[in-house]
């Protein structure tokens, strides 16, 4: 009994325990094995009741290539596979790893590259990737980048491409150890499963690119494809069984037409009844799955018919809508111009003139009568209609209207869009907060400057102004009030002295309106928000010192504008004319294209000098008037220069300042020709210059000079004159064009100028026979140094630039004939001088 009792008590415990264990095992199996397949449904938003075969997805979603960034795509892929089994080491089942199982099936060995880690060189003709090796090839880009590039190139949503990939591929998105074969045709584009694939379709890059391109083609050449939007299309339920039939579907948009062109079947009711499973023998799933996956992942495939958002909201004070008005400081009873740009976020195209035109309507409450209403409005609750005739989904439309603020105070004007006669669009409380203030004249100082020239191109250093000198000032002021400035009428706007107001200015000159009104507004009128200008000249006082000159606009006869503390600290100091050299160059020409070699200055050569000088004083240099600034010769000053050129102002003034004025701090220019004097080779001349304010003062001597080293050819000379005489005193000239007697003495003279670099000396400088040189002359006389040397230089020496003389006697030959007797100077032992064809002609009779 006891034993039995014991058995009867133990048996139920055993069986009950077994039953509990069995139940637990069953439950655990249910939870663990099914958990993966249930996961997608946890976030499911698709419901068969929402399936619309004519509107699988809206165009604005399908063609939005910006709906995911590259990083967002990568993150999405990362989330799909959190633990990639690259090496195949994870358990396939209790006895094998994934790699072992693959080997048992004859499949590819690791490495297994998950989509998030996939890289491919973006080429259509070669499939170069990191499959099998997991080594990223040079030039390869990620799968996410391939998707993003395809989306951007063909204007298709990256989300759409991801969903297509999910529905067409062999689990590539979720697979944590995908085989290379799964990358072969993951978009179902043109590759047979069990036959070789055309290389232009094979591989992830080609598949993704071709699929995206295809949807672009469906859109751009819509009329060429079987399934068309905005019409009824017969769409079958099943691919392989025509008896399953079809139904006429009105395709509402291009995206849906494209999906049917890509996958030409619709799900039947059985497929919809089991949204996450299979239907019956007449079920097709492609487009159902696209819709379902997109809905689950991205929250729905369609949007509202009518929706909008504000792109920009502006208020202007001018009809041209160029001057932005300050909504917080508007003027009452003045026209303002309102502009809203809005984006059509719905699926319907907005029209401005159809049965349900899109209008701007007052809200809060709806159809409120606005205080801003005027005759330009459609009605007092409809300020404006859509500017554009048509605004499609995703496009931007515009509304514009004019209104006066009727009185001072705050106004909250709420608006929304309405498809008139049909529906109000989404009301998100769009409004203008407007505040009209009593008329206020206000300004902001935007820019102020004082110039040395009336053209206002040369700002001056206001810390070193010269006494009794006229300068030119500009003030740019923004109209920050809510009234219009004008320069006429009973309240013209002027720039007046301030601190204290109406102060008589020490800088007044006759151009001012009076001693406390520097300038009238330059523009005829300046709207609120616009910029106005005051321009005036001012003359510095004769007394040196620091002057703080305050100014402030005034609407004359009405009101002073706000004091923003605008002033110039003007420092008037003793006039100083000073300079420093910035640069000096010597050129061969006035176009300054080629530098002159001053180390080889040739006699009488011309050179063009350009000197840049900075005005380091506090006076303005001018190139005209009673005291023009010039460059003078220096060391000593007013020295007559050997380099004088006829283009100079005077022998001691090479040039006048090139620019009309040079303000302190600016750089002026002196440019002039020099004409080199005759100097023997090796001579060095330092030619000094220095600016002078003519009639007033020489500027500081900075020791500036230009050095010239002379080096001229020794063979150059200039012909001066020649003569033939019958007497040795060279008194009786002979006309050699007439006949001369035979065997008779005559006396010849030649004058020549030394233009070379050598000093001629009578010990070596002779007149030789030429043509040919050293020819024995038939006119030889015993007085000659030689039969081929007619004479020695008469002077002991002739320097460059000087004139030398040859005097010699000839004896005419006994033979009657016409003779041309040629000569040429020669530096004995050194060089023949230039042959100029010098000769005497004789008719010996």
């Amino acid at each position: 009994m006891i034993n039995l009792a014991v058995k009867t008590k133990k048996l139920p415990r055993f069986f009950i325990s077994g039953a509990i264990v069995a139940l637990l095992i069953g439950f655990v199996c249910l939870v663990t094995i099914k958990s993966n397949t249930l996961t997608p449904q946890l976030n499911a938003t698709a419901s068969a009741a929402n399936w619309n075969p004519g509107r699988i997805i809206d165009d604005n979603l399908f063609y939005d290539n910006k709906d995911m960034s590259l990083q967002e795509i990568q993150t999405f892929l990362n989330q799909k596979v959190t633990n990639c089994d690259t090496n195949g080491t994870q358990k396939y089942n209790s006895s094998m790893t994934n790699a072992q199982y693959a080997a048992s099936q004859g499949w590819a060995a690791p490495a297994y590259v998950c989509l998030k880690d996939y890289y491919q060189v973006p080429r259509g003709d070669q499939n170069i990737n990191n499959l099998s090796t997991n080594v990223i090839p040079a030039g390869a880009i990620s799968a996410a980048a391939i998707i993003k590039n395809a989306a951007d190139t063909y204007n298709v949503s990256p989300r759409v491409l991801l969903v297509l990939l999910q529905k067409e591929s062999r689990n590539l998105l979720n697979d944590n150890w995908p085989l290379p074969a799964q990358y072969r045709n993951p978009m179902g584009f043109g590759c047979p499963d069990t036959a070789p694939c055309d290389p232009v379709y094979e591989g992830f890059y080609n598949q993704m690119t071709n699929a995206a391109r295809q949807f672009k083609l469906y859109k751009t050449n819509a009329a060429s494809y079987r399934y068309k939007s905005q019409q009824y299309n017969a769409i079958s339920y099943q691919a392989n069984n025509p008896s399953c039939g079809s139904s006429n579907v009105f395709i509402e948009n291009q995206a849906t037409a494209g999906l049917y062109n890509y996958t030409p079947y619709q799900p039947n009711q059985a497929a919809l009844n089991n949204l996450y499973g299979t239907g019956d023998g007449c079920s097709a799933y492609g487009n159902r799955n696209f819709w379902r996956i997109f809905s689950d992942w991205f929250g729905g495939t369609t949007g509202p018919d009518y929706a909008w958002q504000v792109s920009s909201q502006e208020l202007y004070s001018d009809p041209a809508m160029t001057i932005t008005a300050d909504t917080g400081a508007l003027a009452p009873d003045k026209d303002y111009y309102f502009k809203i740009q809005v984006i059509n976020n719905g699926n319907r195209t907005w029209k401005s003139d159809d049965a349900n035109p899109i209008l701007l309507g007052t809200t809060a409450p709806y159809n409120r009568t606005s205080e801003l209403c005027n005759s330009t409005w459609i009605s007092c609750n409809r300020p404006a209609k859509l500017n554009e005739a048509s605004v499609g989904p995703g496009q931007t439309g515009t509304f514009q209207f004019k209104a006066k603020i009727p009185r001072t105070g705050n106004f909250s004007e709420y608006f929304s869009l309405v498809a008139e006669g049909r529906t109000w669009l989404n009301d998100f409380g769009f409004n203008w907060q407007l505040n009209a203030l009593p008329p206020t004249a206000k300004w902001q100082a935007i820019y102020q400057e004082i110039y040395s020239d009336s053209a206002r191109t040369k700002p001056v250093n206001i810390n070193a102004l010269s006494p009794s000198t006229t300068y030119y000032a500009s003030v740019f002021a923004k109209n920050s009030g809510n009234t219009v400035w004008s320069n006429y009428g009973i309240n013209p706007v002027l720039l007046a002295t301030s601190s204290p107001i109406d102060r008589s200015s020490a800088f007044f000159n006759s151009s001012w309106i009076n001693t406390n009104r520097a300038a009238l507004l330059k523009e005829n009128s300046v709207q609120p928000g616009q910029m106005g200008t005051f321009e005036f000249s001012l003359t510095t006082p004769s007394n040196v010192g620091l002057y703080n000159e305050y100014f402030r606009p005034v609407a004359e006869g009405s009101t002073w504008m706000n004091d923003v503390g605008m002033y110039w600290p003007l420092s008037v100091s003793t006039p100083t004319s000073q300079w420093s050299v910035v640069s000096q160059y010597v050129y061969t020409n006035s176009t300054k294209s080629q530098l002159y070699n001053t180390d080889a200055t040739a006699n009488k050569s011309r050179a063009f000098i350009s000197i840049k000088a900075r005005n380091t004083g506090n006076t303005i240099w001018k190139n005209s008037g009673t005291n023009p600034t010039r460059l003078g010769t220096n060391s000593p000053v007013d020295r007559a220069s050997e380099f004088y050129d006829s283009s100079w102002v005077a022998q001691d003034r090479p040039a006048t300042l090139k620019e009309s004025t040079i303000a302190p701090g600016e750089i002026g220019t002196f440019e002039f020709w020099v004409n080199a004097p005759y100097k023997p080779n090796g001579s060095v001349i330092n030619e000094s210059f220095r600016p002078v304010v003519e009639g007033l003062v020489w500027m500081n001597d900075v020791g500036m000079y230009q050095q010239f080293k002379f080096n001229s050819p020794s063979t150059s000379w200039d012909y001066v004159g020649q003569g033939t005489y019958s007497d040795s005193n060279f008194k009786t000239a002979i006309d050699t064009s007439l006949a001369v007697s035979r065997n008779t003495d005559y006396y010849l003279v030649l004058k020549l100028k030394n233009t070379g670099g050598e000093i001629w000396k009578n010990s070596t400088f002779t007149l030789g026979t030429s043509n040919p040189v050293d020819r024995a002359s038939v006119f030889f006389d015993n007085s000659w140094p030689n039969i081929n040397r007619a004479a020695l230089l008469k002077e002991a020496s002739v320097a460059p630039g000087q004139i030398g003389t040859f005097e010699f006697k000839i004896k005419t030959p006994s033979t009657v004939n016409d003779y041309n007797e040629y000569f040429r100077p020669v530096i004995e032992g050194s060089a023949w001088l230039t042959d100029i064809g010098l000769h005497w002609s004789f008719k010996v009779r």
Binding site: L30, I33, A181, D198, N287
Partner: protein, 178 residues
């Protein structure tokens, strides 16, 4: 009393056995549902429709019939066999179908026929069948494809590639799809 006690023990055993049996059935039912095995294996994963009904949205490697058979070469990597002549005997559109048939002049039995209809404006339409032997020729087809799969309306090029012994022979023919 003893008799009564014996009857009570037997009844308890029966109850316990029934409980265990029910528990095992519940456990198996749960497992079968979760693992998609009988009797719950009729809920197969739906097809994508696009890839000739072969690929599957959530298919595993085991469920994918082409994992082992997926060719590793592309069409340009398979040498042409010039001694084999392929003739497209039929390529027509009628009654909502594109029908195709070709013969291969070869006495070698077997081979695979891959039909690809292409157009630069559309996604290629492909079908692959095994060749059937008839006397000294191999027959590809007939193959019937719903005209709805040809979304571009215009001229398409049909290319039949016949694969045998790692070589291929091919023939092309044009057809205008309406």
């Amino acid at each position: 009393m003893k008799k009564i006690q014996r009857k009570s023990t037997v009844a308890k055993k029966i109850i316990v056995f029934v409980l265990v049996l029910v528990a095992v059935l519940v456990a198996f039912t749960g497992f079968a549902y979760a693992a998609n095995i009988w009797p719950f294996n009729n809920s197969t994963v739906p097809t994508s429709d696009t890839q000739n009904n072969n690929s599957q949205e959530n298919a595993t490697k085991d469920g994918n019939p082409s994992s082992e058979d997926t060719p590793t070469k592309t069409t340009d990597q398979i040498p042409l066999n010039n001694s084999v002549v392929v003739t497209i005997d039929e390529l027509a559109q009628s009654n909502g179908l594109i029908t195709f048939k070709a013969t291969v002049a070869s006495s070698i039995q077997g081979g695979k026929c891959s039909l690809s209809l292409t157009n630069p404006n559309d996604k290629p339409v492909t079908r692959t069948v095994n060749a059937t032997s008839s006397n000294s020729t191999q027959i590809c087809g007939p193959i019937e494809i719903s005209e709805q799969e040809f979304s571009y309306l215009g001229e398409w090029t049909a290319t039949l590639r016949y694969y045998i012994n790692d070589t291929q022979a091919l023939a092309t023919k044009a057809i205008t799809i309406k």
